[in-house]
């Protein structure tokens, strides 16, 4: 019989492969199992930590599932009214131009009720980072149709599927803001696999650098899931996302800086 050694022998700094993100608070996340918000929060917190920006960061969170972002990331945060985060962040950045300012918004918040604020803050080239979580549904209010809901997709307010003739088409707002001269870096990512997590984190790091250089608005869409709203298991949701959401909202950079 092989000699049984205590697990404590393996708990050494050189064996550490994963740790709780330093800037994530001890609060238990309220997100549903499999939801992309937790991962998106974590990598944002990691970037803020790794860039040494905790004392320089002011976040603006939306109305929606991520309304409680301020409970989880240990930075100063303002909670905005529904859709108004880019307007709020505009003033924060203009009054405190040396700070790192981000908004974190869902699809209903950013692409429906807040469309004007989104378009105009991007058009003014506000020197902020907008993180846009697109899961094609209103999660917090119980799974209603969002501007990004796919054609034919069933939600609580389009129970027979989204009929684009009656309800309009899925809005590709990220492509719209990419056409505006005020945006500097526009990309669409996801956080459903380790490889995608790394790519998204890299995109956030780029946006941080661009903001330091006063380059204009950086806009990162994260196509995500909503297992509860989609009425799927987390695994099914990610598969459905890959097959359907990515077809409409293909991943990759949409507007990259001309260096």
């Amino acid at each position: 019989m092989a000699e049984v050694t205590g697990i404590k022998e393996y708990i050494k700094p050189e064996n550490l492969v994963y740790t709780r993100t330093k800037l994530m608070t001890e609060n238990v996340l309220h997100y549903c199992p499999g939801c992309g918000h937790s991962t998106a929060h974590r990598i944002l917190a990691e970037v803020i930590d790794e860039e040494g920006l905790q004392s320089e960061t002011i976040g603006v969170c939306p109305v929606g599932c991520s309304v409680f972002l301020y409970n989880y990331i240990d930075v100063d945060v303002q909670e905005a009214a529904h859709g108004r985060a880019p307007a709020v962040a505009t003033a924060v950045k203009r009054l405190m131009p040396d700070k790192f300012v981000f908004t974190y918004q869902g699809d209903g918040d950013l692409a429906a009720i807040g469309t004007a604020e989104t378009i105009h803050s991007c058009n003014r080239g506000e020197n902020i980072l907008i993180i846009f979580i697109n899961n094609g549904i209103y999660g917090m209010t119980g799974g209603q149709m969002a501007p990004t809901t796919l054609e034919g997709m069933k939600t609580a307010t389009c129970p027979y599927g989204r009929d684009v003739k009656l309800m309009g088409y899925p809005l590709k707002i990220t492509e719209i803001v990419a056409t505006l001269p005020g945006t500097y870096y526009v990309t669409r990512q996801s956080v459903h696999t380790p490889a995608n997590v790394r790519k998204t984190k890299k995109a956030i790091k780029k946006a941080v650098q661009y903001q330091k250089l006063n380059k204009g608005t950086c806009f990162i869409e994260i196509v995500s899931n909503c297992p509860s709203g989609w009425k799927m298991t987390p695994v099914q949701a990610n598969k459905w996302m890959e097959e359907n959401m990515f077809a409409k909202y293909p991943l990759g950079d949409i507007k990259t800086p001309v260096e």
């Binding site: 905790q54 004392s55 320089e56 960061t57 002011i58 603006v60 309304v67 301020y70 240990d74 930075v75 100063d76 945060v77 303002q78 909670e79 905005a80 009214a81 108004r84 307007a87 709020v88 962040a89 505009t90 003033a91 924060v92 203009r94 009054l95 405190m96 700070k99 004007a116 604020e117 378009i119 105009h120």
Partner: protein, 356 residues
């Protein structure tokens, strides 16, 4: 530093006073009859002198939410608009009240409802004083009656806003906004370099992270917060009532009027006294808190009161509450953008109280 004498429109006076009060930011959207505020600030370009940010927003909604963001950083920020624009701002105003943020909102009132008219009115009294947005909250409401007060109340508003962590509204009207008078302007104040301890300025290692929000899902915690707001409003009611008396000492009848109507009523008092009718004027300067006690005390000395407003009768409800049935109270007012004349007020007073 001495005060400077200038001839200015009320709207211009507000703008210049904002710069001189050391305001950090103004966020606005054009609407008649107050667009001069934004225009003046854009021309003055205070970014080059005091560092004050001036921005034309895409809507009143965006402008008030910019105010929210700036106020949450502990900055002295303001917006201005006129009635339809102020209606749009109500969402932001209730969030600002709910997050206990200090700021200044200027309403240069025009007639309504709806798109109404661009002429002066006082028909936004209820909206300003009784709520406007949803939820239990109050603004501190100041009613200037001259271009001088348009200027003076800017600094006073910021002082009160920060003292109580509460939004303050200057409730003006199109007449005071547009008319020109001489105004003594205060010397330039420096912009504040210190942020309040609650402000979101970036979290240093020495404190917990600051969160600015009006959200609370636990009803017990929310109720405790509502009770805290009530205590604050009660303190404001105790300590911040402001009013002006005009020939009230021997008055048998009292006019109650604010803003432009108060200016008109000063003349009415003179006209009435020339006719041998002893009339006085009580001018509320703060509409919230309202001078209930003062008007209640005067009710014991006069035979009746007339609330004069450019509205269908809004402040009259607060006068009635003050008087509590002791003497008759009536309302007189013109609407739709028409400013009452002093003679009309006297005639109306006579018809109400001195028939036969």
């Amino acid at each position: 530093m001495e005060k400077e004498l200038r001839l200015m429109k009320g709207n211009e006076a507000i703008a210049e006073a904002a710069i001189r009060a050391g305001a950090d930011g103004y966020f606005g959207y054009p609407i008649t009859p107050q667009s001069e505020i934004l225009e003046y600030l854009m021309e003055a370009n205070p970014m080059n002198t005091t560092g004050m940010v001036v921005l034309q927003a895409e809507s009143e909604l965006a402008a008030i939410n910019m105010v929210y963001g700036g106020a949450a950083c502990g900055k002295r920020v303001m917006t201005s608009s006129s009635s339809p624009g102020i209606s749009l701002k109500q969402e932001g105003i209730t969030y600002i009240a709910g997050a206990e943020l200090p700021c200044l909102i200027v309403n240069v009132v025009r007639g309504g409802p709806g798109l109404g008219t661009i002429q002066p009115a006082q028909s936004d009294y209820f909206q300003a004083v009784k709520g406007g947005g949803h939820g239990d909250y109050h603004l501190i409401v100041l009613a200037p009656a001259s271009v001088q007060e348009m200027a003076d109340f800017v600094d006073l508003s910021f002082e009160l806003a920060f003292k109580y962590r509460n939004p303050v509204m200057i409730l003006s009207d199109g007449a005071i906004g547009q008319m020109m008078e001489k105004v003594w302007l205060s010397p330039q104040k420096e912009r504040s370099k210190v942020a309040p301890d609650w402000a979101t300025t970036g979290k240093p290692t020495t404190r917990k992270h600051n969160i600015i929000t009006s959200l609370e899902l636990d009803p017990n915690v929310q109720e405790a917060f509502n009770e805290k707001l009530v205590r604050k409003y009660n303190k404001i009611r105790e300590e911040e009532v402001r009013f002006e008396e005009f020939q009230c000492e021997d008055a048998e009848y009292l006019l109650v009027a604010y803003g432009t109507s108060a200016r008109v009523c000063q003349k009415s008092v003179q006209l009435a006294r020339q006719q041998g009718i002893k009339v006085g004027l009580l001018r509320p300067i703060t509409l919230f808190p309202f001078p209930y006690k003062k008007i209640g005390a005067l009710a014991g000395r006069v035979k009746g009161m007339l609330s004069v407003e450019m509205s269908a009768g809004q402040m009259v409800e607060d006068v009635l509450l003050s008087v509590n049935g002791k003497v008759p109270v009536f309302h007189f007012g013109r609407m739709g953008g028409i400013v009452t004349t002093p003679e009309e007020v006297v005639e109306n007073l006579k018809s109400k109280f001195l028939k036969g």
